[in-house]
Every structure is written in structure tokens, then in C-alpha cells.
């Protein structure tokens, strides 16, 4: 989820930024990104210049829709749990 949410407000985000924000290492994040890229949620761009190799991530339209669906589903679950708790309180 955080790997998909971080690129959401941007066009491209640097791999290192996602790694630092999530608090993981290169290897673990690479595996997650590869899985997301295979699913079509994330696009990976690798470039090379005089400072070295750089990897950037972009959320695809499909990934953006999946993130929105996921967030909406979580909101509905939380809202339903809130109504259930309120119902129990009234019953007492």
C-alpha cells in the first residue's frame, strides 16, 4: 500500500525516496516494485548519467484506480465497524 500511495500525488518518484519513506531496504523494495510492475500498477524507469544509475517509479492509471478502490473499501469497512459499535452502545 505505501509503495503505491507515495507516487500517487506525483508524476515520478525516486526509488530511494520510496525506500526511505517506507523504511525498507533496496532488495525488499525491488521485489515489491517488480510485483506491482508485473500487475501493471507501477511503471519503472531506469536512467544513467554521470552521477550513476537512477530508478524512478510512476503510478499507472490502473494502479491509481486500484489504490482508490482499496482506500474506498477500507473507508466502508471502518464506517461499518463504527455503525456496529454505535449499535452495541445503544443496545446497552
Amino acid at each position: 500500500m505505501p509503495v503505491v500511495a507515495l507516487p500517487a500525488p506525483a508524476d515520478w518518484v525516486e526509488f530511494g525516496f520510496v525506500r526511505d519513506a517506507v523504511g525498507t531496504n533496496d532488495s525488499t523494495l525491488s521485489k515489491q516494485v517488480a510485483t506491482l510492475a508485473d500487475a501493471g500498477y507501477v511503471e519503472v524507469r531506469k536512467t544513467r548519467n554521470h552521477t550513476g544509475r537512477h530508478t524512478h517509479l510512476q503510478l499507472t492509471a490502473q494502479g491509481r484506480q486500484a489504490l482508490q478502490r482499496h482506500a474506498s473499501a477500507l473507508e466502508r469497512i471502518v464506517a461499518a465497524a463504527g455503525l456496529h459499535t454505535t449499535g452495541h452502545r445503544h443496545a446497552r
Binding site: 507515495l6 500525488p9 508524476d11 515520478w12 525516496f17 552521477t51 482508490q68 477500507l74
Partner: protein, 152 residues
């Protein structure tokens, strides 16, 4: 009631936005912008060829600053219409400060009026880098909400 997962989505997006704003409004680039304003603004009273040199230095700083800013950004986002309009309005304010300072410098009969006027405008530019950060954050948040159609 706590909403852990949707809050985490919001927090992650906020982190990306904050990084974008922090980089775009950093003091280093504000200093470069101030130097550009000083170089170009003070070039009017300089004798040839130094006026041309000053303008070329200003142009070089603009290009170099933009290239470095783009390369070093960890979060890349295209400038929105609102963001471009805001930048233009800040530039208009800086030009107004430069013109007003030049008028004052001429009125008090300073020997090379464009230099102190450019210095005042340069300071105003550097101050604007910090003073406009809350507005830049608000514009970035509004742009992101325009792209995000899910509920928070």
C-alpha cells in the same frame, strides 16, 4: 474514530507532496533566484560589455538552476496551471519591487540607482521563497485533490 489504513494512504501522499514543496521552495534555489534578479536588475547601469556579461550570468544561473533543481528532485511533478500562475504573480511582485526601488533610488539621486534597486529586489526574492511556502503547499494539496477522486 481512528481510520488507520486510509490515514496511512493520506500520510504517504502528504509525504510526497511535502517533499515536492520542500525541494521547489528550498533556500538554495531561492538564493539562486535572488542572484539572478540582482545580476539582471543591476545590469542597466553597468557599462558595456559588463551589462551584457551580467545578463548572461543571470541567464546562465536560471538555466543551470532549473537543470540542477530538476535533476536533484526526488519527487517529480509537472507544474500545474495554478502553480504557473502563482509563480508568475510572484515574479510580477518582484518586478514591481525592482521598479519601485529604482524610482526611489533615482529620487534620492543615488549614483548607480539600478544596483541598490536590484539588491532590494534580490532580498525580496529570497524572502518570498520562504514567505510563499504555505501558499505553495496549499496549491500542491489542491492539485493533488483534483487528481484524487477517492474518499479520505
Amino acid at each position: 474514530m481512528r481510520r488507520p489504513h486510509s490515514t496511512h494512504v493520506h500520510q504517504r501522499r502528504e509525504r510526497s507532496r511535502a517533499e515536492n514543496v520542500r525541494h521547489a521552495s528550498s533556500g538554495a534555489y531561492g538564493l539562486i533566484a535572488a542572484l539572478v534578479v540582482f545580476a539582471v536588475g543591476s545590469s542597466n547601469d553597468l557599462p558595456s560589455p559588463w551589462s551584457l556579461v551580467a545578463r548572461l550570468v543571470g541567464g546562465g544561473l536560471i538555466v543551470g538552476g532549473l537543470v540542477v533543481q530538476c535533476r536533484q528532485a526526488r519527487v517529480h511533478k509537472k507544474t500545474s496551471v495554478a502553480g504557473a500562475l502563482f509563480s508568475l504573480s510572484v515574479a510580477a511582485v518582484v518586478i514591481a519591487v525592482l521598479v519601485a526601488s529604482l524610482i526611489v533610488a533615482c529620487l534620492v539621486h543615488l549614483p548607480i540607482p539600478s544596483v541598490p534597486a536590484a539588491a532590494v529586489a534580490a532580498v525580496a526574492t529570497w524572502v518570498a521563497t520562504y514567505a510563499t511556502r504555505p501558499v505553495v503547499e496549499r496549491v500542491a494539496r489542491r492539485d493533488d485533490q483534483g487528481c484524487w477522486t477517492g474518499r479520505r
